[in-house]
């Protein structure tokens, strides 16, 4: 962030006459054209599902992941620009470790979300930088309760029971509104998440072009390709 942003003392995100921050609207546009991501909170856990379409079959799918863990109990995914996401993952991991060092306790999910959202907000207020072109879905398990929150380029964050982001997110949300109930259990939620992803999927869904992440009382983990394959076999 050195160099250019030090020379600009003014923000590039400025108000339009109607009171909108156009840069943030554009950033949300970048998110809405990104690959779809689904998150569903069940009574006993949270599931994150995302499409990971590669540009060519020459791409090595197992080298780079979209779903990343931040702490043993918190996981994260995104829709939008990959490089911007990587920076936020690094930031989130550092914030979590700083918290652990100071308080001797793992960071609660909402506290992590607040810190990440604060960083995203700073980039809409600081000189010489642009907003992040990602929306994040952060899931975690704190004190026996699951949590699912979304962070937007503006820096606002929302707790969700179930949500969709990225391409065709309105279709996804409508699908989830119909299929969600507050007593849903994790296995059912995984099934529903895959179906929601399938709604807007072009082509054949395989274990290599989607990713699944789960958080339960045992913590967060990304499912392996064979595990994803098992779930897909039950759905398709």
């Amino acid at each position: 962030m050195a160099g250019t942003s030090e020379r600009y003392s003014f923000s590039l995100t400025t108000f339009s006459p109607s009171g909108k921050l156009v840069q943030i609207e554009y950033a949300l546009g970048a998110v809405a054209s990104g690959a779809p991501t689904i998150g569903i909170k069940a009574t006993n856990g949270v599931v994150l599902a995302t499409e990971k379409k590669h540009k060519s079959f020459l791409c090595d799918e197992s080298s780079v992941w979209k779903i990343e863990s931040i702490t043993p109990n918190i996981g994260m995914c995104y829709s939008g620009m990959g490089p911007d996401y990587r920076l936020l993952v690094k930031n989130a991991r550092k914030a979590a470790q700083t918290y652990l060092l100071q308080y001797g306790e793992q960071i609660p999910t909402i506290q992590l979300v607040q810190r990440v959202a604060n960083v995203m907000q700073e980039y809409t207020h600081s000189g010489g930088v642009r907003p992040f072109g990602v929306s994040l879905l952060i899931c975690g398990w704190d004190n026996g309760k699951p949590a699912l929150l979304q962070c937007d380029p503006s820096g606002s964050f929302f707790p969700w029971k179930a949500t969709a982001m990225g391409k065709n997110f309105t279709t996804g949300k409508t699908f989830l509104e119909k299929r969600y109930n507050p007593d849903i259990e994790l296995q059912d939620a995984i099934h529903t998440a895959i179906l929601a992803l399938k709604e807007s999927f072009e082509g054949q869904m395989t274990a290599e072009n989607i990713e699944l992440g789960l958080v339960t009382e045992r913590g967060f983990r990304r499912l392996t390709v064979p595990e994803v394959q098992d779930y897909l076999a039950n759905v398709l």
Partner: protein, 204 residues
Amino acid sequence: MSIMSYNGGGVVAMKGKECVAIASDLRFGIQLQTIGLDFDKIFQAGPKLYVGFPGLATDTQTVHQRLKFRTNLYELRENRKVSPKVYASMVGNLLYEHRFGPYFVEPVVAGLDANNQPYICAFDLIGCANAPDDFVVAGTCEEQMYGMCESLWKPDLGPEELFEVISQALVNACDRDAISGWGARVYVIEKDKVTVRNVRTRMD
């Protein structure tokens, strides 16, 4: 002249059965002159969490205030009270931040955690934590307090017995130290109440 013995004083904390006790002398002195008789080195950090800061009196006040700053913000951000372990972590952190220009206090933390289990912890002036199962001591009379605690303490003391044991340990240790004493205050923390008592001591 050692900075840690400029003002004098001592604090002790002990674990009991589902209770903890923490006690401090009340002397405020400048080298050998006694100035005040009501200088309690123990402060409340939570409904069942108390902390004592024996050592240089100015740092007793400042460290308490700076920790209060941090815990106030924690409680506002997280919408919950600090637990004893987290508080102890914050104390150690604050002290180590000043590793090469330390605060001259050796804090003692005593409290009940969320399950009403006793927790005690003591630190050196640069934040090394020590959280044992029996008792912790700090101050100019710590060696005397070690002797008293080692002989009087036993596990699973009830609140009334714990009060007697900690009072005797503190008072007799302070009596063997010229710059500690001049009154004592004892806090007994149980799951449903905290009892504060002033103990009559030799006023010399």
